[in-house]
């Protein structure tokens, strides 16, 4: 039902090509996350799917039907905007009811649906407030409520949590995941946030300058990034990349994630001096200046007592080494 197929879609703004020809299939019921650096075209792609922008060429099929020329309202999709885009002059109830009113649904049915959605989202006691009287998380829930009452073929989320503070973000993330589990509807979700991408996605699409770099499950991308771009993009702190002599000639560059570099104060593969050590209590991130290699970041669990200038040794887990060729492709 909620299958979305992009077929050689392109988009240019004037002379600037933002999306080069792009193919993508999103299966029904999947939770797909788009990630990529700022300006890479995530929002544009989402808006193309939504119908808020016309594609320059190519075709979009939603649910088996050609939707390329359909106006947004007829695509059967619902979108949750980064700014929530609530109607500030309407109560929560009317915000949620708005798409149903537009569909000329009868009043009793609307009421029933709104109540149901409000219950799911814990909004029942706020139904008569205006968005201005709600907290950020509640507003976000109203936006989602407005999306779900329409029973769309798919949900589109454009960085829906980026305006919330850290604690709320964790909660809302869980709520959206639960929603997906219970509704089973296709969801496309754009985010900047590592953690959101890794924890929510069935499938992550990594975009770079409008092109798809890799598509796969979170763990797949973490374990087997297909190129340096994806390797650097997934995982935090970023993967250490080492070029030159230390690669041993098998590859142009090798990569090792900070959590896969063992730290020791007396022996190991690489020796270096600590430039910065960040003590978070739960973990310690140590930035080590290794001669002939550059700065490597290593993570130690818990408190690892080193300071600026200390001498430390680093040892990579050999099975966790990534190798890349000169074009950056994984070997």
């Amino acid at each position: 039902m909620g299958e979305i197929v992009l077929n050689r879609i392109t988009k240019s703004f004037g002379d600037v090509s933002v999306i080069p020809p792009l193919d993508l299939t999103i299966a029904d019921g999947e939770f797909v996350v788009f990630v990529g650096p700022s300006g890479c075209g995530k929002s544009t792609l989402l808006r193309l799917i939504a119908g808020l922008e016309d594609s320059s060429s190519g075709a979009i099929r939603i649910d088996g039907k050609d939707a390329t020329a359909l106006p947004p309202a007829q695509r059967g999709l619902a979108m949750v905007f980064q700014s929530y885009a609530l109607y500030p002059h309407m109560t929560v109830r009317n915000n949620i009811a708005f798409p149903l009113k537009m569909a000329r649904m009868d009043k009793a049915a609307i009421d029933r649906k709104v109540e149901a959605a409000a219950k799911v989202l814990n909004l029942t006691s706020y139904l008569d407030r205006r968005p201005g009287q709600l907290s950020g998380g509640q507003r976000q829930r109203v936006a989602i409520g407005r999306a779900i009452v329409r029973e769309p073929t798919a949900f589109l989320f454009d960085e829906p949590l980026s305006n919330l503070d850290a604690a709320l973000r964790v909660n809302m993330r869980l709520e959206i995941s639960e929603l997906h589990a219970s509704l089973g509807t296709t969801m496309i979700y754009v985010t900047h946030d590592q953690v959101e991408a890794m924890t929510m996605a069935d499938k992550i699409v990594v975009l770079n300058a409008g092109r798809i770099e890799q598509v796969g499950s979170p763990i797949e991308l973490y374990n087997r990034p297909c190129n340096r771009f994806v390797a650097g993009f997934i995982g935090s702190p970023r993967m250490n990349i080492i070029e030159g002599a230390e690669t041993g000639g098998q590859a142009h560059a090798i990569g090792i994630r900070p959590e896969h570099l063992a730290l020791s104060t007396d022996s190991g593969h690489w020796a270096g001096t600590v430039s910065v050590s960040e003590h978070l209590g739960s973990d310690t991130f140590v930035y080590v200046q290794v001669d002939g290699v550059g700065t490597l970041v290593a993570r130690a669990g818990g408190e690892f007592p080193v300071r600026h200038g200390d001498r430390v040794w680093l040892t990579p887990q050999p099975d966790r080494l990534h190798r890349f060729d000169a074009e950056g492709k994984a070997l």
């Binding site: 119908g51 808020l52 922008e53 016309d54 020329a69 106006p71």
Partner: protein
């Protein structure tokens, strides 16, 4: 936003306004243009004949024309300078905390609501009249010779009246702009060691540039056609001292009923207004990224 659907809708929604204004501009303008090549005096119907550019020759060689041009510029420039400066001053003042701010604000904006005719009548008769006016009474009370505003300094007096009417507008816009100034920016300047004057010059004034542009644009539109104030107070005189282009065209068309000459004058005024418009739009384009 930009889908084929929305662009089509945009054309549709623009259409009424554009068509109406185009009609409003073009139809009378075409008629005016046509009249401007005729000998056409309302009082002598039946004598209309094509006389080519004669009306333009007369209008442009009329010594009153250059005086009027100068007066127009002086009037617009003078009022703009006074309202912008005064507006900044008033806006700064009204932005400060003091007792009765709401009421003072009401007092300050009041002149904006007064009809031009009424304000001209009131200023001319009740304030500026050198015998029975209030200013004269005050001057006499101070043992001074009353000043005869409208004959000694006619243009300045009109500038004063018009300034009084437009000062509230400038003040309101500038005040809104002032209140939109990020307080943190002023605080940053204060931390940086800028005193009140430095803050005004380096932070507040540049911030108000946009608002000053807007005030200039809107007021110029209205000031170019200042008319009632002149008609009521001085009738363009003494001599041509207060005749602006609008008044000159008026006197041709509606005092002398020389429609042909008035039309030629109207067309010249349109051209001049467009020059001003182009000049203004340039300025706006720079300052007001629409």
């Amino acid at each position: 936003m930009a889908t084929a659907h929305s662009r089509a809708a945009a054309r549709l929604t623009m259409a009424p306004a554009v068509v109406l204004l185009l009609g409003w501009m073009l139809i009378p303008l075409a008629m005016t243009l046509y009249f401007s090549f005729l000998r056409y005096n309302l009082l002598m119907p039946g004598t209309e004949e094509w006389i080519g550019t004669l009306n333009y020759q007369y209008f442009l060689t009329d010594p009153a024309f250059f005086t009027a041009l100068g007066n127009t510029l002086a009037l617009v420039g003078g009022v703009l300078a006074l309202t912008v400066c005064g507006g900044i001053g008033l806006a700064l003042l009204l932005d400060q905390p003091f007792w009765g701010r709401g009421i003072v604000r009401l007092l300050v904006i009041a002149p904006f609501f007064v009809m031009p005719t009424v304000s001209a009548l009131v200023w001319k008769n009740m304030l500026m009249n050198p015998v029975n006016g209030l200013f004269a009474a005050v001057a006499r009370g101070l043992g001074l010779q009353p000043f005869d505003f409208l004959s000694e300094a006619p243009l300045s007096s009109i500038v004063l009246i018009v300034t009084w009417q437009w000062l509230p507008f400038a003040t309101l816009i500038l005040l809104t702009a002032l209140q939109s100034l990020d307080r943190e920016r002023l605080e940053a300047a204060e931390m940086d060691g800028a005193g009140a004057v430095d803050r005004f010059v380096h932070i507040i004034l540049p911030h108000l540039a946009r608002a000053m542009t807007v005030v200039t644009l809107i007021q110029t539109i209205f000031l170019l056609s200042v008319f009632a104030e002149i008609l009521v107070t001085t009738n363009g005189g003494p001599g041509n001292a207060t005749t602006n282009i609008t008044y000159l065209v008026y006197s041709l068309s509606l005092l002398q009923f020389d429609v042909g000459g008035g039309s030629a004058g109207g067309i010249v005024a349109v051209v001049l207004a467009n020059i001003v418009a182009v000049f203004l739009m340039r300025m706006i384009g720079r300052n007001l990224d629409l």
